[in-house]
Amino acid sequence: MSVTFQAIQAEYQRLQRRVRLHATLIWAIRGLVLGLTVACGLAIVARLTPLLAQTTVRNLALAIIGAGLSMGLAYGWLRRISPQLLRRQLDRRLGLAERLTTAFELETALPSDLVASQRADTLDALAAVDVQQKLPLRIGRLHPTVLVMTSILLAALLYAPSIQFETVAQNQQVSAEIDEQITELTEIADQIQDIPDLTEEEIAELTEPLEAAIEQLQAQELSPEQAAAVIDQAAQQLQRESGVDSIQQETQALENVGAQLSETPTLEQAADALQSGDLETAASELANADLDTLDAAELDQLADALDAASLNSATGELAESLSAAAEAARSGDAQAAEAALADAADSVAETAESAQQAEAVAEAAAEAQQSAQSAAQAGQPSQQGAGQQAQSNNGQSGNGAGNATDGGQSGSSGQSNAQGQNGGGVGTGSGSGSSDGSDQSGSEAGDQSINQGTAGANGERAYEQIFAPQRIGGGEGIEVEVESDVETTQGNDILAETRSLPDSDETSLVPYNEVFGDYSQAAGQAIENGDVPVGLRGVVRDYFTLLEP
């Protein structure tokens, strides 16, 4: 190999690198265009079917574009073409008149004047080539044009609003919410297991509805309403299993017992504890009662009080113990009376223990109820800021349903169902409940206001508030004082089926069966008018079904 040929080879390699660089540039753009095209396809599919969320599509599109660019760069740089073909291309593009190809074919030729002249001529021709002019790192108009067009198309596909994107986001939110509810139900089941003094059978009985609900939530793709119904059903069953109602009755009965015993100084402390619900203290006081110091009159007074208390007792054992204590006291047998009171103390202590367990289970049931509520609200447009999802009712203004009272009672139900849903305008809801200065707020009817989302991207719309029931089947809420249409006599004798509240002689509760129909009908009307969001309609119906007398 002559020195001249080595020089030709060096020049050739310089040109080869330039060609490869140019090819890399071209193929990078082609890869970019390919990536953009595939990303456009993906975006189109995502806009036609609810498969992927908008963010996911964007990330995937970026990844695809990156992959296309990388592939283009790699292919352009690593692509190898035949050296003969490359030399022929260089001959043609650089106007070398086949000097280069001939020189390489003469690589092994015998030295001669002609061969030497050919090599020298080739080297001169190569040196005279203006590489930047002959092999410019430029690209034609077609590639940038296609690049820009596909970029614009992809941007439009990715960033323009799409109902499919919103649907996917809603589904994801629902799924996440259900997962969260499953976690909460699991925690509730664990709480039940931690309740002291529960037997394995009781624990199994109490956790069975929760586990069944968890299985259903895990096994099926449920809508928010269905998930809420499943959880709600489990909560109701748990509530029933807790026996909290009977315990409450017993507790109430013990309060009455305490009221009767409060008239005897000997058992005054026990009576106070019973009335305040401190059953453990009450049991302790009863068990430690000292009757030896009482005279006969005091024992008779105690016996009367115990007899009265036995009548108010809810459990048979307590009533028998109190009755036995009364009989012993009346007969002057203080020791026997103390023994009977000790038995009564045991009954109270048992009730206290049962009350604690029931309270814990009821608390768990209440938490499950809260989960049902959260599940029902999952995926609501209000929580996505999806302004387009607002029902278009042509700016129908909401009607405040405030029931003003003229009897000095608070305007309790200032619950303005301000369903000012609108399509183009801004719906204005106005609650018009009037109040006479009572400190009771107008939203005490167990309603929870839910912020109906933020404004959409294209317009600042004012979203209405939705008032949803908060304590369906749960613990008791704040009692509401409403106007009573019960007729009373001058002597304040209550004619209707009412009961006096413990701490308020002046207030009364409305007969339930008289007002239920009105409220149920109003709720049904609201559902029919579309004032209640779809996700909450089932909850409202369940609410009134549960309350049905």
Binding site: T101, L114, Q118
Partner: protein
């Protein structure tokens, strides 16, 4: 042995001397020069008065070669060209046959109006042109090297002419069309030929140098794909092949022979050297392709009826054939 630089010097000198006398026929001069260097014969076709004979005569002066001119006529006999045995008597009175050389025994032979001779006479040139020897009375006589035949023919006059047979045509390296000069060249011709002093060409080289130049031409390297291009070009002229173009199939009756490929290759090599290059390029092949192929393509009647010439077919092939 001559080197490439000397080749260019001599060739340039020859062209310069020829151009002193011949005006406006650079392409013809180029092809004739290539023919002389490569040892090929050239058929010049053109109307009378375009300087064909002048070109050949000047060439003989420039090359300092033996020159003979044969005016072909219908009554010209082969013996008039190659010579014959004549009865001769020596000093002792003994008689015997002695070969009398004809005008073919020269370095440069001008066969003027070759198509006016009968085919029999034309065929007398075959052996001389191909083998560079003649056979008379079972005796073979070699022709002195270099040996070139430059023939002319008139394309217009058909009466009393005998078109050259294909075998005869194939012996010519090139068929060069001598076209009418443009006005500027004509003015120059008038200036040079109507004055008191006639332009004279001087000797530029000799026969030995011409032979060496021919040997150098044959050493010019050709890239393999260029050789393939030449082969493809010749193959493409054959209408019987499936790969032939529609035009070739429609208008060409007989394609070019392998001699056409040889002519293309030698002509391209000489062209490359004349252009100052030391390898053959596609452009060299394309430069000589019309002259090398036009007399080897036999067109059919349809082509003549449609006014399609061999040059049209060749031009189409050159533009369509992939390099």
């Amino acid at each position: 042995m001559i080197n490439p630089q000397e080749f260019r010097t001599i060739a340039t000198r020859i062209k310069t001397e020829l151009q002193k006398v011949i005006v406006g026929q650079d392409d013809v001069i180029q092809h004739v020069l290539i023919g002389v260097i490569t040892g090929g014969h050239v058929l010049l076709e053109g109307v009378p008065g375009l300087g064909k004979t002048m070109l050949v005569r000047t060439l003989s002066d420039v090359l300092s070669l033996d020159f003979s001119r044969i005016q072909f006529t219908p009554d010209l006999m082969p013996a008039d060209i190659i010579g014959t045995d004549i009865l001769d008597e020596d000093d002792q009175g003994r008689r015997g046959f002695r070969f009398q050389q004809g005008p073919i025994f020269a370095n440069l032979v001008l066969a003027d109006e070759i198509n006016r001779a009968t085919p029999k006479t034309q065929s007398a040139m075959l052996e001389a042109m191909q083998e560079k020897r003649v056979t008379v009375a079972n005796k073979t006589y070699s022709l002195e090297q270099p040996f070139f035949v430059l023939a002319t023919q008139n394309p217009l006059e058909m009466e009393g002419t005998y078109p050259l047979p294909e075998a005869q045509l194939d012996r010519f390296l090139f068929k060069v069309n001598v076209n009418f000069p443009d006005a500027a060249s004509l003015v120059e011709i008038l200036a040079r030929t109507t004055g008191t002093e006639q332009p004279q060409a001087s000797t530029a080289t000799d026969g030995k140098s011409i032979i060496e130049m021919g040997q150098l031409v044959r050493d010019v390297p050709v890239a393999s794909h260029v050789s393939r291009y030449i082969a493809d070009l010749v193959v493409a002229t054959h209408p019987e092949l499936e790969s032939a173009s529609e035009q070739v199939k429609q208008y060409v009756r007989v394609g070019a022979s392998p001699r056409a490929a040889q002519a293309l290759m030698l002509g391209a090599k000489a062209t490359a050297l004349l252009a100052g290059r030391y390898n053959v390029a596609f452009e060299d092949v394309q430069a000589v392709a019309p002259a090398a192929l036009r007399h080897r393509l036999l067109l059919n009647f349809e082509a003549q009826a449609n006014g399609i010439s061999a040059d049209d077919v060749i031009a189409t092939l050159l533009s369509s054939l992939e390099q």
